[in-house]
C-alpha cells in the first residue's frame, strides 16, 4: 500500500496542534518552533504532490477512498486535480511564511494562537482535497472556528464586532449551501437509486434548468460571501482591519480562495446550464466589484483597509475570468488566485511590519519612510508593483490572461475590467508615494529600524515567487491545463444547451418535483 499522501498533508498540522497541546504555555519559543517545523514538514511533503502529479490528465489523483458513514453513503474521499493541487501548495507555502511572521507579532496566549493556526491549516487543506460533500462541508465549517477566534482574541479594538460579523455572514452562506447539498443528494438518489455524496458523481447529472437555477443560486451566495463579491463584501474590510497580521495573511491568501475555488469545483461543473445563463449578471457584479473596490480603496486612510478593498477588486477579476468559460479566462483566474495570495499576503505582512514599529496604520502618520528604511522600501516597491500587475511580476501574467480570456468571450466586459487595472495602479502607487516618499515629517518615524533578518527570511520566498511566476509561470499553468480544458469542454456543452433550450425562467417554484409523502 502506498503512503496516503493527501491525508498526510492534511493532518500533519493537526498532529502539530495536538503536540503543542502538551507543551507548557510558558515555553513560547518551543511552541513557535514546533509550529514552524510542522508547517515546514507539511510544505515539503506537499511538494511530493507537485512532483508526483501527472499533468496529462484531468482525473483526480492521489485518491484515497474509504467508507465513512455508510448510513448516509458518505465516504472519506480525498483527491486533487490540477486546480486543487495548486491551492494545496499555496496553502502549505503561505502557512510557512505566516508562522514565521507571527514570531514576534503575537505575544498574548501564544499556545492557543498556534493551535488555532494549525487547526485552520488542516481545515483549509481538507477543503481543497475533499471529494465527498459531507467531508467537504465538515472541513468548510471547521475553518470558521479558528478564524473566528484568531480575529476575536488577537484582533484590534473592534474585534468582537468584526469577528461576529465574519462568522454570521459566512454561516448564512454555508447553511444555504447545506440545503443545496441535501437537495442534490436526494436528486441523485431519485435518478440512480444510490445514496452517495460523491461530488464527482454529481457532475453531469442532467438536472432540470429550474432546479439547476435554484441550487446554483444557493451555492453562488455561499461562495460569493466567501470571495467576497460585491455586494456581499462588507464583512471583509472589518475582518481584515481587526485581524492580527497573520490572520489577515491567511484570510487574504487562502480563505478568500475558498469562494473562487468553490465556483470552479462546484458551481460550474455541477450546474453548467445555470452557470451559463447566469454568467451575464455575475460578470457585471464582478465588474462592479472590480471598479467599486478600487475606487473605495483609493480614498482609504488606513493602509490595511486599502489593501482589504483592493482584494475585493482583485477577486472580481478572478470571478470575471472564471465566468468567461474560456481556457485563458479560467487559467488566468486560477493563476490570479495564487498571485493574489502571494502579493496581497505580502502586502499584509508589510503593513504588519509598519504596524509593529509604529502601532498605527494611518497613511498620514507616515511619509518619507524610504529614507529611514531603504531595504524595506525596495521590498515594498516590488510587492506593490506585483499587486498592480507590472510585467515581469506574477500579477501581470494573471491579469493579462484573465483579460485575454474575457476579451474572447465579451469585449465590453474586458473594456470595463481593464479600467480596474488602471485604478489599481492609482491607489497602490498613491499610497506608496504618501507612505514612502517625501520628507520625514513625523518625528517618530526618524528612528525606525530597517527590516530584520527574520523579516527578510519570510519575505524572500514571497519575492522569489513573485518573480518566478512573473517570468516563467509555465510550471504552474501546465499543472492545471488538463483540468481547466476539461472544465471548458463541460461549459461548452452548457452553452450549447443554453442556446437550444430557453433559459431558466427567473420565477419558479422552489419545490420543483413537488413530492411529499
Amino acid at each position: 500500500m502506498t503512503m496516503p499522501i493527501l491525508s498526510t498533508v492534511t493532518f500533519i498540522p493537526l498532529v502539530g496542534a495536538l503536540a503543542i497541546l502538551f507543551i507548557n504555555g510558558k515555553n513560547e519559543q518551543l511552541i513557535r518552533i514546533v509550529t514552524l517545523a510542522t508547517a515546514l514538514v507539511d510544505f515539503i511533503v506537499s511538494l511530493g504532490l507537485y512532483t508526483g502529479f501527472n499533468d496529462a490528465t484531468a482525473d483526480m489523483q492521489f485518491v484515497e477512498r474509504i467508507p465513512w458513514i455508510p448510513r448516509f453513503g458518505a465516504e472519506y474521499y480525498l483527491g486533487v486535480d490540477g486546480i486543487s493541487l495548486l491551492m494545496v501548495l499555496l496553502t502549505t507555502f503561505t502557512c510557512v511564511v505566516t508562522y514565521l511572521s507571527t514570531w514576534k507579532a503575537v505575544e498574548k496566549n501564544v499556545k492557543e494562537f498556534n493551535i488555532a493556526m494549525l487547526l485552520l491549516q488542516t481545515a483549509m487543506i481538507g477543503v481543497f482535497c475533499a471529494l465527498d460533500f459531507v467531508l467537504f462541508y465538515v472541513f468548510w465549517e471547521m475553518m470558521l472556528i479558528p478564524m473566528y477566534l484568531l480575529i476575536g482574541v488577537w484582533g484590534g479594538k473592534r474585534r468582537i464586532y468584526a469577528t461576529v460579523k465574519f462568522f454570521i455572514y459566512t454561516m448564512a452562506g454555508s447553511v444555504l449551501m447545506l440545503l443545496a447539498i441535501l437537495a442534490l443528494y436526494f436528486q441523485y438518489h431519485a435518478k440512480t437509486g444510490v445514496y452517495s455524496f460523491d461530488i464527482l458523481k454529481y457532475y453531469g447529472m442532467g438536472l432540470s434548468p429550474v432546479l439547476q437555477f435554484w441550487l446554483f443560486l444557493c451555492f453562488f451566495i455561499a461562495f460569493a460571501i466567501k470571495v467576497p463579491l460585491w455586494p456581499f463584501h462588507t464583512w471583509l474590510p472589518d475582518a481584515h482591519v481587526e485581524a492580527p497580521t497573520a490572520g489577515s495573511v491567511i484570510l487574504a491568501g487562502i480563505l478568500l480562495k475558498m469562494g473562487t475555488y468553490g465556483f470552479l469545483r462546484f458551481s460550474l461543473p455541477l450546474f453548467p446550464d445555470a452557470a451559463v445563463s447566469a454568467a451575464w449578471w455575475i460578470s457585471w457584479v464582478a465588474i462592479i466589484g472590480i471598479i467599486y473596490g478600487a475606487l473605495v480603496a483609493m480614498v482609504q486612510e488606513d493602509i490595511k483597509k486599502l489593501v482589504a478593498y483592493s482584494s475585493v477588486s482583485h477577486l472580481g477579476f478572478v470571478v470575471l475570468g472564471t465566468f468567461a468559460f474560456t481556457l485563458h479566462g479560467i487559467e488566468g483566474g486560477v493563476l490570479q488566485m495564487i498571485n493574489h495570495g502571494i502579493s496581497t499576503g505580502a502586502l499584509f505582512l508589510i503593513v504588519g511590519m509598519l504596524y509593529e514599529r509604529r502601532h498605527t496604520r494611518e497613511i498620514t502618520e507616515y511619509g518619507g519612510i524610504a529614507r529611514v528604511m531603504p531595504k524595506f522600501a525596495v521590498v515594498f516597491m516590488i510587492v506593490t508593483l506585483s499587486s498592480i500587475g507590472l510585467p515581469l511580476t506574477n500579477g501581470f501574467v494573471g491579469e493579462f490572461m484573465v483579460l485575454l480570456g474575457v476579451f474572447e468571450a465579451n469585449r465590453v466586459y474586458a473594456a470595463f475590467a481593464a479600467t480596474g487595472v488602471i485604478f489599481g495602479a492609482v491607489y497602490m502607487l498613491w499610497m506608496f508615494q504618501r507612505v514612502m516618499f517625501g520628507e520625514v515629517t513625523n518625528e517618530k518615524n526618524k528612528t525606525l529600524l530597517d527590516m530584520s533578518v527574520r523579516e527578510f527570511a519570510y519575505m524572500t520566498p514571497l519575492l522569489v515567487a513573485i518573480f518566478v511566476l512573473g517570468v516563467y509561470p509555465n510550471p504552474v499553468i501546465k499543472k492545471m491545463e488538463a483540468t481547466v480544458k476539461n472544465l471548458v469542454v463541460t461549459m461548452e456543452k452548457g452553452k450549447a444547451a443554453a442556446k437550444n433550450e430557453s433559459p431558466a425562467p427567473l420565477v419558479a417554484k422552489i419545490d420543483p418535483d413537488g413530492k411529499r409523502d
Partner: protein, 483 residues
C-alpha cells in the same frame, strides 16, 4: 370474569429494578449514614446507573417482544432510549456531586429521586400501552417537581417547583383526558390495539381527533414545545443547576420517545394532518426558543431557551415522519445529552456557591483564568450550535436530511435559518470567555472530580459522534426494525 395473569418478564425490566433497588438503598442512607459519610451518595447512585447500563447494553437481551400483556415493549428502540436516559442520569450525578455538597443538599433523597425519575423515563420509552406511558410520565414528573424545589432555601427554586407542579398537573390532566377519549372511541389502551381500531375498525373520529389533540397538548407541554413552553424558562432558571441539566436532556428524550410511539405507530392515520401540525409546532418551537435566547443576559436562562429550540429541531425529525427521521431524533437526543449536561456542569462551577453568578458576564475572561474549562465550553457550545466536527453537526445534519427526504423543503429551510440564528447567542459564550478581560479578582475555579469525569465523557461523545458517527447511526437505524 376470568382474570389472566400476565407473564412476569423480569428480564426485560431488570434495569428498572436495579435502579429502584439502588434508589431505595439511597433512601436508607439518610437514616444510617452520618453527615460525613454522605459523600458516598453520588457514587452509590452512579454504581446503580452503571449496573443498569451494563445490563441494558448487554447484547444478550432477548429478542424484541412485548411483555406484561403487551404493555411493555422490550425492543431495541426502548434499549436505545434507556441508554440515553442512563447516560443523562450518570452525567447529572457526576455534576451533582460537588453541587450537593456545596449547597448542603447532599441527601440520599436527591439521588433517589433522580433514579426514580429515570425509571419513569424508561417506562415511558417502553410504553406500548397508554397506561404504562402515563404511569412512567407521572413517576418522572412527580420526582422532577420535588427536584426542582430541592434547594429549598432559594426562593427561585421554590417558585420553580410550584410553577412546574401546577402547570404540570394541568398538562397531565389534558393528557389523561386525551387518553380517555381515545380509549372511549377505540376501546383500547394498547397502542397496537388503537392502531388496529383506527385502520380497520370504525372509531368515533370526532372524539378520537379531540383525544389525540389533547394528547399532543399534554406531550407538547412536557417536551416544552411552543406554545406550551411558558413554564420552561422560569422552572429551568429556578431549579438547581444539575436538575436543570437533567431536565433538559433525559425527560425530553422520553417524551419524544412516547411521541414517536404514539403518533408514528398508532394514531397517524387520522383525518387531521398530523404532519402539518407537527411541522408548525417544530417551526414555532425552534424560532421562539432561538429568538428568546438571543435576548437573554443570564446564561442559565439562555440555555433554557436553547433547550426549547433544540426540542424544536428534534420535532423536525418527527415531522419528517420517515424512518430516517425517527432515527435522527434518537441520534439527536443522544448527542444533546452528551453535550448539554456537561455545559450545565461548567455553568454550575462558574456560578459558584448559591448560584450567585449565572450571568453571561460571569464567564468573562474564563479563557485566561481556566483555559482548559473555557476550551471545553467552547467545544460544547459549538456542538450545540451545530458546527463540525462536533456531534451537534452530525445530529442536525441527519435531522435536516430526513426532513428533506420527505420533501418538506420549507421546514428544512426554517430549521436551517434557525440554526444560523442560534449560532449568534452560542458565540456569546466564546466572546465573553476569550475576547473580554475580567477586572474582578475572584478565587480560581477548581473543577471537581465528578465534573472532570463528566467532561471527559462528553468530549468523547461529542467528537466520537461528530467524526465517526457510523456505528451509532446504524444502532439508531436498527432500533426501528421492531416497528
Amino acid at each position: 370474569m376470568q382474570i389472566v395473569f400476565p407473564v412476569i418478564d423480569l428480564a426485560s425490566v431488570a434495569p428498572e429494578i436495579i435502579l429502584t433497588v439502588f434508589a431505595s438503598l439511597l433512601l436508607f442512607s439518610g437514616v444510617f449514614l452520618k453527615e460525613n459519610g454522605r459523600a458516598v451518595n453520588p457514587w452509590l447512585a452512579l454504581v446503580g446507573v452503571l449496573a443498569a447500563g451494563a445490563y441494558a447494553s448487554c447484547p444478550a437481551v432477548p429478542p424484541p417482544h412485548t411483555s406484561f400483556s403487551g404493555m411493555y415493549a422490550a425492543d431495541r428502540f426502548t434499549q436505545f432510549f434507556k441508554l440515553i436516559f442512563l447516560l443523562g442520569t450518570g452525567l447529572t450525578i457526576l455534576i451533582s456531586a460537588r453541587y450537593t455538597d456545596d449547597e448542603r443538599i447532599n441527601h440520599g433523597e436527591y439521588y433517589a429521586l433522580i433514579l426514580f425519575s429515570t425509571v419513569g423515563m424508561m417506562f415511558m420509552a417502553a410504553g406500548s400501552d397508554m397506561i404504562t406511558i402515563f404511569m412512567g410520565l407521572e413517576l418522572l414528573s412527580i420526582s422532577l417537581y420535588v427536584l426542582a424545589g430541592y434547594t429549598r432555601m432559594r426562593a427561585e427554586s421554590n417558585e420553580a417547583a410550584l410553577k412546574y407542579f401546577l402547570l404540570g398537573g394541568f398538562a397531565a390532566g389534558f393528557l389523561l383526558y386525551g387518553m380517555a377519549l381515545i380509549y372511549g372511541s377505540t376501546g383500547h389502551t394498547g397502542l397496537a390495539g388503537i392502531a388496529k381500531a383506527v385502520s380497520h375498525g370504525n372509531p368515533n373520529t370526532t372524539f378520537l381527533t379531540i383525544g389525540a389533540l389533547m394528547l399532543m397538548v399534554g406531550l407538547g407541554f412536557k417536551v416544552a414545545a411552543v406554545p406550551f413552553h411558558q413554564w420552561t424558562p422560569d422552572v429551568y432558571q429556578g431549579s438547581p443547576i444539575p436538575v436543570t441539566a437533567f431536565m433538559s436532556a433525559g425527560p425530553k428524550a422520553a417524551v419524544l420517545a412516547v411521541m414517536i410511539r404514539v403518533f408514528e405507530q398508532s394514531v397517524s392515520f387520522m383525518n387531521v394532518d398530523w404532519l402539518m401540525w407537527l411541522s408548525v409546532l417544530a417551526v414555532m418551537t425552534m424560532t421562539v426558543g432561538n429568538i428568546a435566547a438571543l435576548a437573554q443576559t443570564d446564561a442559565k436562562r439562555m440555555l433554557a431557551f436553547s433547550s426549547i429550540s433544540h426540542a424544536g429541531y428534534a420535532l423536525v425529525g418527527l415531522a419528517a415522519a420517515n424512518r430516517s427521521g425517527i432515527s435522527a431524533v434518537m441520534v439527536y437526543m443522544l448527542v444533546y445529552t452528551f453535550t448539554n449536561i456537561a455545559a450545565f456542569g461548567i455553568l454550575a462551577l462558574v456560578a459558584r456557591r448559591n448560584e450567585q453568578r449565572t450571568r453571561m458576564q460571569d464567564f468573562t475572561g474564563l479563557a485566561y483564568t481556566n483555559p482548559g474549562l473555557a476550551a471545553v465550553m467552547t467545544v460544547l457550545v459549538f456542538s450545540l450550535a451545530g458546527i463540525p466536527p462536533m456531534g451537534g453537526f452530525m445530529a442536525k445534519f441527519y435531522v435536516f436530511m430526513s426532513a428533506m427526504e420527505s420533501g418538506q423543503h420549507l421546514l428544512v429551510f426554517a430549521a436551517v435559518v434557525n440554526s444560523a440564528i442560534g449560532i449568534f447567542y452560542y458565540l456569546r459564550f466564546t466572546v465573553y470567555m476569550y475576547m473580554r478581560e475580567s477586572d474582578e479578582q475572584l478565587p480560581p475555579l477548581r473543577a471537581s472530580m465528578g465534573l472532570l469525569l463528566a467532561i471527559v465523557i462528553s468530549l468523547y461523545g461529542v467528537f466520537r459522534l461528530g467524526i465517526i458517527p457510523g456505528d451509532y447511526l446504524e444502532m439508531a437505524g436498527k432500533a426501528l426494525l421492531s416497528f
